[in-house]
Symmetry: C2
Subunit: 307 residues, 2 copies
């Protein structure tokens, strides 16, 4: 048995025309850093659960991705983040949503998994739990980046609640995620996001929903999603991939393809998934122009952006 | 094609020794009222989506059930309610959580389904949406009942966060829900709860999670859950029943039995589900001592409490 790790940094319309060699290099470097952090853990016999937490934490710490530092702004000018994590061996899980100030939401989700009788916590209550457990908090300035401020300003001027819907502009579904298989044959998945620019009404997406944006089960696969959250919720994407394998006898590739390229497309849902099955197959499937992504194992480390 | 409606008012250890003919009659009467309200809608050609909203609203208005009026108290002495609704034809859905003051959370969930580009809203943001859409609000006294105050007092004295875990006392997982098949052949499901007595940390259960505590899909079934939420989340119960039918070729009865009596039992998850499939079969399955439940169709109206 060998280890495997795959990550994503969000999917969407990533236009080559709006990128340049310098920006692309930054993304590749950040993705590589996350993969190496996770690999270090897995190679030395660390658990898949810890590896996905570590890899997602690296992406949360990077201002390039919409999670942790660099999260988008809500309509109120705040950062309302969500994250989840699941262990494929025990089916234990932790999830948080609408949390502000927590440096690494995925670490809070991991703390909910390991140190709470609950699975899902939101808002000020979740922050209270974070404080009691000694998680690191940062002030609003830490999370803020000029690019996200500009996105909020543009969205508010245009009265948009969602990220850009016009074809002319970059449209990205900013989420980060990781899935891993460890040397003991256990699977795990973690997902984290800052949500949608200019979002209102305490909107939650799929990223903190176990079975929807994140799922792991040693029987089938570990999976993390990124995309238009509302469609992913209605399609219960992560569990659907797993169930298609468990009950329908589909391979990981077939299940991911059917869900992302057929079911989601039919509904109008844009985005993608990363997944690893119990024997180490990896699938990075998306129906958008691009998806920041990568994978690493004993033999290979690869990072990609476009199709 | 005929119509069908099934409802539940929570599952758990409902001890005959702590009931009497008078209390039992009250529950049967309340369940019957909800069934008749839903039946009126379905019989006259109304949609399954409206029927489940109406039936759940009746139970929310009754102080007997842990939803709407009569919701349990959180540790902060507040009512933090959650609800969800899904249409099996369009797969559109609406869900709210951590809302206070909204008289009928299921009606707010229905408004999210029909009047929002979002699916899931929580906390003050969800309440803001409710205000803008003109939903009825009530003050704290409306929701409060002496029985729930006593439950909070007892729970706090014993340092319990969950509802009673000791075998000596009544242990109920208070949730209400409805599933329906209308004359057009469409399915829908709705679920609502006040959560857990003395809950902290902004804990969410499964009731507001699409695919977990509530799901509807014309391809398979409509389903509403009640039970120990954390286990239902980790088992992605509602979608698992649907997937077992869709990909595994199981009947509604088989799928519900496997999930409730085998999978949940193995994990230690207590509770039950109510479900209707696309041809009108009904299943009311639970692994606890009792479940307040009932169903109605052209020929029959029945309400039940114990096994």
């Amino acid at each position: 048995m060998s280890y495997q790790l795959a990550i994503h940094g969000g999917a969407g319309t990533i236009l080559r025309s709006q990128m340049n060699a310098d920006i692309e290099k930054k993304y590749h470097t950040a993705l590589k850093l996350a993969l190496e952090k996770g690999k270090q853990c897995l190679k030395s016999g660390g658990s898949a659960l810890l590896a996905v937490e570590l890899a997602v934490s690296v992406m949360e710490d990077s201002p390039l991705f919409n999670a942790g530092k660099g999260s988008v702004f809500s309509a109120a000018g705040t950062h309302e983040m969500e994250a989840s994590i699941m262990c494929g061996k025990s089916l234990s899980a932790g999830a948080v949503a609408e949390v502000s100030g927590v440096k690494n939401p995925v670490q809070l989700a991991a703390k909910v998994l390991s140190n709470s009788e609950f699975v899902y916590m939101v808002g000020r209550g979740a922050e209270q739990f974070a404080k009691e457990k000694g998680l690191v908090f940062e002030n609003a300035e830490y999370f803020a980046t000029d690019f996200r401020k500009l996105q909020l300003k543009e969205a508010q001027e245009e009265g948009r609640v969602q990220l850009d819907h016009s074809k002319s502009k970059e449209r990205k579904f900013g989420t980060v995620g990781a899935v891993a298989l460890d040397l003991s044959g256990n699977l795990a998945a973690a997902t984290s996001t800052g949500g949608l620019t200019n979002k209102q009404y305490g909107r939650l997406g799929d990223s903190s929903m176990i079975g929807v944006g994140n799922y792991a089960n040693n029987t089938t696969c570990a999976i993390s999603c990124t995309g238009y959250g509302e469609y992913f919720i209605r399609a219960v994407v992560a569990h659907d991939v797993s169930a298609m394998m468990e009950y329908g006898g589909k391979s990981l590739d077939e299940a991911c393809r059917i869900v992302v390229q057929e079911k989601l497309r039919t509904m109008g849902g844009e985005g993608g998934v990363i997944a690893i099955d119990s024997v180490g197959n990896i699938c990075l499937e998306f129906n958008s122009e691009g998806m920041y992504r990568g994978f690493v194992n004993e033999n290979e480390l690869k990072t990609l952006i476009y199709k």
